[in-house]
Each structure stands twice: as C-alpha cells, then as structure tokens.
C-alpha cells in the first residue's frame, strides 16, 4: 500500500489535490472528512491505476471529473451541525432549574402536615419522569424522591398516630363514661 507509484497516486497533481481536499474538509464532520479523503483516493487509484504511468493530461481529466475540492467540501456536513450535540445543549438549561425547584418543593412538603403528602406524590412522579427522560442533575432528582418518600412516611405516621389516639380516646370514653372529646384533637 505504501508502494503506490505505479497507480498514478504519486503524480504531483494528485498529491496536491488530495492535500487540498483534506484542508478543504477541515471544518467538515470528522468522520465524513476521513471517509471522503479515503474514498477519493480509492477513486483515483481505480481511475488512474490501469496505466503504468498516467500522463498529466489523463490526470487532469480525472481530477476535472471529480470537481473542485471546494465543491466536494460544500457537499459535506459541517462539523458544528453534528446532530448528537445539538439537542443535548438545548435540554440542559431546561432540566437544570427543574431539578432544584423539585427538591425545594419536596423539602417544603416535609413541613406541611397533610397537604405535603399530595405535593410529595407530585414531586416523585415528576422526578421519575425526568430521570427516565435522561434529564441532567440526576443526584438532585434522586434527593427529591428521597425527601418526598420521607414526607409520605411522616404523613403516614401522623395518620396512624392520630387514628390510634382517636381509638384510644373513644375506648377510654366508653370505659370511664366521661366525655373526652378534646383529647382526640389534642396534638
């Protein structure tokens, strides 16, 4: 492969053309740049390879058919238009304020006795949806879920506690025969 002289690839015009093409593709998508230079080299090997030593006229004709390196570079995708990076930069700012906001809401839900449970459920749903959508700041989203679960546990404990208190008060009323209405609402 290093011994290319017999293929016509060592002709000064071909060498210059390939170097120009590589330079013209400098701002193109890197994969396209590499593929294009390789494929054009193969094209030239095939087009000039049959002749032991192609004449300058023959080389010119083949390069003419290929077209100017600028035209080829125009047909390539610019490196900045690579589809992978565009959506990522767009989504980041959106997810980055949602995660702290959700965490703050979850913390607020912790100090609101019963209404907090509803907030917590909302926070868990939102955080799970965002995590599944591959949103950034996953740590904050996980923290949101953890805090919301604590809120739900505290709420559950409060509900169980007050039910137990009510049952206890009612049973103490029936046993002692004295009204104990106030105690069921006390703490």
């Amino acid at each position: 492969m290093n011994q290319a002289p017999q293929t016509g690839l060592s002709h000064p015009l071909v060498v210059a053309y390939l170097a120009d093409l590589d330079r013209a593709l400098a701002s193109a998508d890197p994969q396209e740049r590499q593929d294009t230079v390789t494929a054009v080299t193969e094209h030239l090997t095939d087009a000039l390879g049959g002749d032991a030593e192609p004449t300058t006229e023959q080389v010119r004709a083949v390069l003419d058919e290929l077209g100017s390196v600028e035209k080829i570079a125009d047909a390539a995708t610019p490196a900045s238009a690579a589809p992978a990076s565009a959506p990522a930069t767009k989504e980041k700012p959106r997810g980055s304020w949602i995660a702290p906001a959700l965490l703050a809401t979850a913390i607020v839900s912790l100090v609101l006795p019963f209404f907090g449970a509803l907030l917590a459920i909302g926070c868990i749903v939102a955080a799970v949806v965002l995590l599944r959508a591959d949103a950034p700041r996953r740590g904050l989203l996980r923290a949101t879920i953890a805090v919301s679960i604590v809120t739900l546990l505290v709420t559950a404990a409060l509900v169980v506690g007050s039910l137990a208190w009510t049952t206890f008060s009612v049973s103490s009323v029936t046993e002692s025969g004295t009204p104990a209405v106030v105690s069921s609402t006390s703490p």
């Binding site: 396209e32 494929a39 090997t45 095939d46 035209k71 080829i72 995708t77």
Partner: protein, 112 residues
C-alpha cells in the same frame, strides 16, 4: 459561474440524489468509481467527488454498508451495498416520488 438553470437543477438534485445512489445499488453492490460514472452518465451528478461525502452519510445512517472485495486487476476494492434499512428507505421514496412527480407534471400540463 453557474447559470440560473444550473442553480435550479442543483437545488432539485439535492433532495433526491441520495435516493438515486440507493437505486444504483438496488440490484448489486458497486464500487465508488463505478457509482460515480453511472450517476454522471445519468446526468444526476456533475462533480463526481461530491458523491463521497454523501456515501459517508448514507453509511452513518445505516442505509448503505461497505465491504472489501478482491479485484481481478489491482488492489482490493471497497464495494457499497444496500442494507435492509436502505432497501426500505428506497421503497418508501419510490412510493412517494411516483405520485409526486405525476402531480407536478399534471399541474404543468393543466396550466399550459
């Protein structure tokens, strides 16, 4: 340098050239120079070299794949061939193109 006619033709070719490349590979794999010559003869390509960035994109999109094959003369050649995905994309294009080109022709005829 380009005349207005050339500019119009360039625009029109832009959207369909990739499907013309897929069509050239429909029956059998082909190597670069072969494809370039076929498309130039069909007057669908003016600068043969512009075919290669396009082939790179088609490969990246999984519509075309390439394999090395021994040639009877000279070094092995890279052959391009359609993937299943490419075959499907070509079929979808053909189904869309036929009524579309018929509609364009019809309106040009009707309004003459």
């Amino acid at each position: 340098m380009d005349s207005p006619d050339d500019a119009l033709l360039t625009q029109l070719r832009k959207g369909v050239l990739e499907y013309c490349v897929l069509a050239c590979l429909r029956q059998r794999p082909a190597y670069g120079l072969e494809l370039a010559t076929q498309l130039t003869t069909a007057r669908l390509l003016t600068s043969e070299g512009t075919l290669y960035p396009l082939l790179s994109r088609l490969r990246k999109q999984g519509l075309v794949e390439s394999t090395w094959q021994e040639s009877t003369s000279g070094p092995p050649r890279r052959y391009y061939q359609l993937t299943d995905h490419g075959t499907q994309a070509l079929a979808t294009f053909a189904d869309t193109w036929r009524p579309f080109s018929a509609d364009v022709t019809a309106i040009l005829e009707e309004t003459r």
